[in-house]
Symmetry: C2
Subunit: 313 residues, 2 copies
């Protein structure tokens, strides 16, 4: 398996990207070959210093960089030799089996939707966040921001995608699904939630347990929680801010530290035909390592094949 | 001024209601006369034990109680002698200037909308929550649950109502208004947020500062944050759960304790023609005291007159 990594993406690239590669190769059992995409001159001394096993990676030179604030579509068009442009080119042509970047998020989204396609039957690919729980396990919340307006059918597809991810990546054998709502009983909520509930209830592939409320997000009530991307994004960013508050106030609690979502290393775009992982701009070594690990897990578990099978008509 | 209080509402009534009355009369400077609505036989010994100044209150007997899980409309219709039924009757007939209950929330909402009217020009009355901030001040988030589906015009009205409340009750002299959204720039967000932004920007009565994100809710970025009631309710209940987590994990932090929203003592229904305050079912003495204080503040500050003036065409 070959994993493509954008070495120039993120606020602390390429140094932290190199650190992540080293962490990954030093600590994770892998037969992956890493394809490191970036400026050769910038990378050479860092890679040399890191004393990596040279058989485990190769460098693909990119002569351009897309800045964090550039217009996504314009930048991708005008900078085909950027690390993101090259990454999607390699993915499209089967030269890598997954592509990871902590660079310009918009460019990553545009690249994903234009270079590789949604899996047949999926209306709206989605992004998610792991939700830390007190017992050490992880739930999954989706969508967390790319689908701000949704129809009920979209939420049902998120539930299927999330269940497969929860099962094959987060190791929940029969993941429960909850609908994020503002009341417990069926019939509660806004028009979208009211329309979604019966569809989730009837769906043969889902282990639907009903509505979950804001207070249930960090509990084990549901392994997969679905909502439109507006509410999901507000929830995610609010949870991140709780971590900031805990750090600022010297609250030293193991669980509160798990609200440091950046360490999780980015989100896969679920529902597209190849593994793409989008990292936070502020990703550090541990985040890059975790994204590499996730890419490997997605490939090894054949998650995308499972998704394809689920959406066959 | 006369404040009506349902002594039978809430999980710990009437004991905690009596405690709240005592706390209020003992610690808050007031010339209010309290009208305590409840079962006389149940109240008499408790009130006697509390050794209250008898000139400060009178008891109005109610022979029925609406349970926490009864159907609101049905219960109100079939139990006119319930404490909630009598409370709204007194409010409607000018016998009290405000009505407070920690009883059946649905019955309180139905009672509010059927007994007293929305202020002319207001399409959707709303409920809010104070938002604790690290500097000790309070922001305001609204709507937090009674308007799950909203139009842009509703959010604009929430912003006006919230600004007046923030100014006259929370003492923010020129409250800033933020639109809860999933990006900073104008044009971001779901269709509702996109439609609301320009209306807030152009509104002559509002000090609009733009979008705020989930991470900004607990900061001073905006004194008043508006959203539809679906997202607002999820945010509120999630914040409450953070407090539960902090308690469970023995996190002893002054600020985290402020996420104990129950102590704030309930929410006024903003936009209706008389002060109505709805408490949490699990209200204890401090919550009842805070609701009485809030009712007094709403009357003294003539908040409802200010609201009427703002909505004159």
């Amino acid at each position: 398996m070959r994993i493509g990594l954008d070495m120039m993406g993120g606020d602390f690239a390429p140094i932290e990207a190199v650190k992540g590669v080293k962490l990954f190769l030093d600590t994770v059992a892998t037969d992956a070959h890493l394809v490191l995409i970036g400026d050769e001159a910038a990378l050479a001394p860092l890679l040399s210093d890191a004393q990596l096993d040279q058989s485990k990676y190769s460098v693909v030179h990119s002569s351009q960089v897309i800045g964090m604030n550039e217009h996504p579509t314009k930048a991708l068009k005008e900078k085909p030799q950027s690390s993101i442009g090259i990454g999607f080119h390699l993915l499209q042509n089967g030269k890598v089996d997954a592509f990871i970047s902590a660079g310009n998020t918009g460019a990553m989204m545009v690249g994903t939707f234009y270079s590789i396609k949604a899996i047949e039957g999926i209306q709206r690919p989605t992004i998610s966040t792991p939700v830390p729980r007190e017992d050490g396990s992880f739930g999954l919340l989706l969508d967390v921001g790319i689908n701000a307006d949704c129809k009920a059918e979209n939420l049902v597809q998120f539930a299927v995608l999330g269940s497969l991810y929860s099962k094959h990546i987060l190791q929940n054998s029969n993941p429960t699904v909850g609908l994020l709502n503002i009341g417990e009983e069926e019939g509660k909520g806004n028009l979208l939630a009211q329309a979604t509930y019966p569809l989730l209830k009837e769906h043969p592939q889902l282990n639907f347990i009903g509505n979950v409320e804001g207070r249930d997000i960090f509990t084990n009530k549901a392994d997969v929680i679905v909502c439109e991307g507006f509410t999901g994004n507000v929830v995610l960013k609010m949870a991140e801010s709780i971590h900031d508050i805990a750090v600022r106030r010297n609250i030293n609690d193991d669980y509160m530290h798990k609200f440091d979502f950046e360490t999780y290393g980015g989100t896969p775009v679920l529902g597209v035909s190849q593994p793409v992982i989008i990292g936070h701009g502020i990703s550090k070594g541990i985040a890059f390592k975790n994204m590499l690990t996730l890419a490997q897990q997605m490939i090894e578990s054949k998650l995308l094949d499972k998704i394809r099978e689920s959406f066959v008509k």
